[in-house]
């Protein structure tokens, strides 16, 4: 729902990093987005296309690495990757003593600049 504010933060971080590195044009930005981050990737790309207008990222494309929700279970001692965006019990043994390891990411990994 707030993809515009996320797109704006993303633009701020990327633009600063680009200038810091001595470049003045961003060609692409690669993001890591967890499935349980609450961000809709289509909406984020759309929002970014709007906010990047007339900035050093105006020609930038967005590449998204989607990260599934995964965890480790203390009951059966195994790791799991979940199909859903939320996990109620360990999909392997049904146990409740698990920890979520990935799925909430919302990060800029790297970018191509020139």
């Amino acid at each position: 729902m707030h993809e515009v504010s996320i797109a704006l933060s993303m633009l701020d971080i990327a633009a600063e990093k680009c200038r810091e590195s001595g470049y003045n044009k961003i060609d692409s930005i690669r993001l890591k987005i967890g499935r349980a981050s609450g961000v809709m990737t289509d909406a984020l790309i759309f929002a970014f296309d709007v906010v990047k207008t007339d900035t050093i990222a105006s020609g930038a494309s967005v590449i998204i690495d989607e990260i599934p929700v995964s965890g480790s279970c203390k009951d059966c001692g195994r790791d799991f990757v979940a199909e859903d965006t939320y996990v109620l019990c360990c999909p392997r043994c049904g146990g409740m003593a698990f920890m979520i390891n990935t799925g909430r990411e919302l990060e800029i990994l790297d970018m191509e600049v020139s």
């Binding site: 729902m1 990093k17 470049y23 609450g38 990060e107 800029i108 990994l109 790297d110 600049v113 020139s114």
Partner: protein, 230 residues
């Protein structure tokens, strides 16, 4: 073309400002509750009742977050409580910076409890920390018993879940046990209250819990101070 490593969390700026806010609150000894729900679940009504129950014992202040309008701040202001209205102008949640900008307008040194009524929305308020001690979620029972599984994050992030409008339970087919079970599976330590802001039912369990939460927070802050002194 060159590749530049970034590896930065996109919400990092918000987290940083939230931590700043938290420091200001801790130093002033204010316990902060981020109150979240869908529009109309009864956040402002809960605040009115809670203020009624606690304002003799504790100094309370309120920040009202709404997309537009000042009605909620007027309702709270009528109770003689310091209140600040933030209009987000379209944004679907409060963020740490919006809170940071109004901090100076509150008499924080004299405040024990600060309630921040977030924008009515079950999705994103849970993702933006604003410097609160705890998140509390309100769900009116007419919203349906499927909500924990549809909006898991808010249930996972909240310390307490308040089920409101229990007075109209007889006129609904909502399954309170299902809400309780699903919410507890998502968050085994969530504390669940059943209340009615209309009749006042269940209100004292909630306010007693809140006072205890504040006091135990004070104690742990006190012991932290002792540790760093020694």
């Amino acid at each position: 073309m060159a590749k530049v490593k970034v590896v930065t969390r996109i919400l990092e700026a918000n987290e940083r400002i939230a931590a700043e806010n938290r420091k200001v609150f801790d130093e002033a000894g204010v316990y902060v509750i981020n109150l979240m729900s869908a529009p109309g679940a009864g956040k402002t009504s809960l605040l009115e009742k809670t203020i009624e129950g606690l304002s003799k014992r504790l100094n309370i202040a309120v920040i009202e977050g709404d997309i537009a309008g000042t009605q909620d701040a007027e309702r709270i202001g009528n109770l003689g409580i310091p209140v600040i209205q933030i209009n987000t102008g379209g944004a679907c949640h409060l963020d740490a910076n919006m809170i940071n900008e109004v901090l100076e307008e509150l008499p924080l040194k004299e405040v024990d409890l600060l309630f921040i009524e977030n924008v009515g929305n079950l999705v994103c308020p849970a993702e933006f920390n604003i410097g609160e001690d705890i998140k509390v979620m309100l769900l009116s029972i007419t919203e349906g018993d499927d909500k924990p599984l549809k909006y898991p994050l808010m249930f996972q992030e909240s310390s307490a879940l308040i089920l409101n409008k229990m007075d109209i339970l007889p006129y609904t087919n909502v399954d309170i046990n299902k809400i309780r079970n699903d919410a507890s599976s998502l968050n085994p330590v969530i504390k669940i209250f059943e209340i009615s802001c209309k009749t006042g039912g269940g209100m004292s369990e909630w306010t007693d819990w809140l006072v205890k939460a504040k006091v135990s927070n004070q104690r742990s802050a006190g012991s932290e101070k002792l540790n760093t002194d020694s």
